[in-house]
């Protein structure tokens, strides 16, 4: 099934016939997304008659707990399919209020093995959004060993760094430089990486658009992220973006010193 992180209602409306589910980052409670949705806008997307998941994936600061609690109670009324979460507070508050909306374990780079997915499944978390830094073999092995329903990224720029700090604004202020647009990049050794500063912090994305929708990946939901992609409709209909497999066939190492 195709699940798409869309920019706005207009884009969602345009592509609804090509999509099975919409993933909507919630304003003030999501990070790594430039475009976010108010709850009223979520309701509007629900009218498109597709599955709707909301994304509440920011790290929750202690003083934000009352607002989070309020948000979760409001989301419960919407009857969305599920909530992507990063912070455990989302789960504890769901349990505290006996909320029925399902959760998607979405700890980005930490959703890396089947046992941890099964741990959360046993806690009532029925879905998991798998890390983009895994090989295809690892993903399919997870799929084999879990009852959780899986989301896997197959298209789009991949977040690879998330900070509470406003790193671009800090730099501009420190050196008294003018800010012209939010569309910035950092560059090193001929490669450029999109960098986004929002009030929630800074995100840096991969230098490439991951494009593995054609691969045999054992996951129910294949996720497309439209950030910085102009024409997602074309991608969904006739994907002629270059193949970019990310880590699917490239295992990372972590020990470089011989023991």
């Amino acid at each position: 099934m195709k699940a798409v992180i869309v920019k706005d209602i207009k884009e969602a409306t345009k592509i609804k016939d090509l999509v099975d589910a919409f993933l909507l980052p919630i304003k003030d409670f999501s990070i790594n997304y430039y475009n976010t949705f108010m709850l009223e806008e979520v309701k509007a997307v629900q009218k498109l008659d597709r599955e709707v998941f909301v994304i509440v994936n920011k790290n929750i600061f202690n003083n934000e707990l009352p607002l989070l609690e309020e948000l979760l109670l409001e989301i419960e009324k919407l009857n969305v399919k599920g909530i992507f979460f990063y912070d455990i507070a989302v789960l504890t508050l769901k349990n505290k209020h006996n909320l029925k909306t399902d959760l998607v374990w979405s700890q980005e780079h930490l959703t890396t093995n089947f046992e941890t997915i099964n741990y959360w499944y046993a806690k009532g978390v029925k879905y998991a959004y798998i890390s983009s830094e895994l090989t295809k073999e690892e993903i399919n092995n997870i799929s084999k060993h879990t009852k959780a329903t899986l989301f896997v990224n197959v298209f789009g720029y991949q977040p690879m760094f998330t900070s509470r700090r406003n790193l671009v604004n800090n730099y501009l202020k420190y050196f008294n430089l003018k800010d012209k647009s939010h569309l910035k990049q950092i560059s090193k050794e001929g490669k450029s990486y999109p960098i986004l500063d929002t009030k929630e912090g800074t995100t840096v994305y991969s230098n490439y658009v991951l494009n593995v929708a054609y691969e045999d990946i054992k996951a129910k939901y294949l996720v497309y992220n439209t950030y910085l992609i102009d024409d997602i409709e074309k991608v969904l209909k006739d994907n002629n973006y270059p193949k970019e497999t990310g880590f699917l066939y490239q295992e990372t190492i972590y020990r470089v010193k011989k023991k």
Binding site: I60, N63, E64, I88, H109, F175, K188, S192
Partner: protein
């Protein structure tokens, strides 16, 4: 008021001994499955030795097991935990809940939740406590108000980072290493891309300041705020840096030991000694700030230095022996020094400043200059010193 634990890093057995000698109550170390895969780390035999040594001093050893497990590691982790349990370590520090669950089910290990879990709120802290963790290391993004409120609303022990390098990202939310160097940061392979310089582009235009763009932040130091943390009854105060030198460990631990003890014993008359700040800064050779503790994380906490960190070579050597009859200290050299230099030899509680008047080589022949790394020399020291005392420029 209770006295908090002072928790220091130890990259190997030598640094474990130094951390305890200079006043740490506990150390944290690594073997397998920890986020410093390229540090020297301890073998299981060395862990056993370290634990026995620590317990003989009534101190503690915690072992970090805080990587994000992949499928392959999942299959090996249970056996590893059982082995650690047999070594009688005082706790393991984990971020993956599977390791917590396994430790509770299969071993008697006490479990602390690593800062890698980015725990920022009392709901999450209480979740971990309910799952069997006795302690939570808070995320370094917590403010003073966050820490206070969390501590007041949990039965879990709370550990707070007080000194050392900072991740520019939320812990666990950075895989720059994976993408730029194919090294998995969440399995201990971090190649510190956040210290690199980049061009910052707006379209095709480079936004160029006097120094290049970087994520790099100043170090954390909460030295002036230790009394605040003690008033909150924080259980453990943690120093970052398992890959730091013996000199760094000795200096930082000594300063924080002094601050904790002074405030504990003289609460009413306590005053922060600003000279401590200079020692802390010189030791790391990097500026430091309270970072998020005061709720400030603007441009003032960033480190735009163009990567020009030149070592200050303050550390001159470590005392190996002292002969009270001759007043000669046997010393292993770490940086260049010579006869006539003004130096300071310090231990946990004392320090002696003097000019080097008598200097000899390993065979007791007179010497003018000590220039060879790890050279063994003798020098006359006017006051009694002990093994593990350190010499630095005065």
């Amino acid at each position: 008021m209770k006295k908090p634990e002072l928790l220091a890093p130890a990259g190997d057995f030598e640094r474990l001994k130094i951390a305890f000698f200079y006043g740490a109550d506990a150390v944290y170390i690594g073997n397998e499955f920890n986020l410093r895969a390229n540090a020297d780390n301890f073998t299981l035999e060395e862990i056993e030795k370290g634990v026995l040594y620590a317990h003989s001093l009534n101190k503690k050893v915690y072992v970090t097991v805080n990587i994000a497990l992949h499928n392959a590691e999942v299959l090996k982790i249970e056996e590893y935990l059982v082995n650690l349990d047999k070594l009688n370590v005082d706790a393991i520090i984990v971020s993956d809940p599977v390791i917590l669950a396994l430790a509770k089910e299969k071993t008697n290990l006490e479990v602390h939740i690593s800062t890698q879990a980015s725990t920022l709120n009392k709901e999450a802290v209480n979740y971990w406590y309910a799952e069997g963790a006795s302690r939570v290391v808070l995320a370094r993004e917590c403010s003073k108000e966050d820490i206070k409120d969390i501590k007041e609303n949990t039965k879990a022990e709370i550990e707070v980072f007080i000194h050392g390098a900072m991740c520019a990202s939320f812990s666990g939310r950075c895989v720059l290493s994976n993408y730029l160097t194919n090294r998995d940061s969440n399995r201990g392979g971090c190649s510190q891309i956040c210290r690199w310089d980049f061009d910052l582009l707006d379209g095709k235009e480079i936004l160029k300041g006097e120094k290049p763009f970087t994520f790099c932040t100043k170090d954390l130091s909460l030295a002036p705020y230790i009394p605040d943390l003690m008033e909150m009854e924080i259980d453990s105060l943690k120093i970052e840096g398992r890959m730091r030198s013996s000199y760094y460990i000795a200096t930082i631990v000594k300063i924080y030991r002094k601050i904790i003890d002074e405030y504990y014993h003289k609460r009413e008359n306590y005053e922060y000694n600003c000279k401590d700040a200079d020692i802390l800064r010189r030791c790391a050779n990097r500026d430091n700030t309270p970072q998020f503790f005061n709720g400030i994380y603007d441009e003032s906490v960033q480190y735009y230095n163009g990567r020009l960190e030149v070592t200050n070579q303050d550390f001159l050597g470590t005392v190996l022996e002292y002969d009270e009859k001759t007043s000669l200290a046997k010393l292993e050299q770490r940086n260049y020094f010579k006869k006539g230099d003004k130096v300071e030899i310090f231990g946990p509680l004392t320090s002696t400043i003097f000019e080097i008047n008598e200097l000899y080589d390993e065979d007791k022949n007179p010497l003018e200059i000590v220039r060879h790394p790890r050279q063994i020399v003798y020098l006359k020291v006017p006051e009694k010193v002990s093994p593990l005392f350190m010499m630095k420029k005065a």
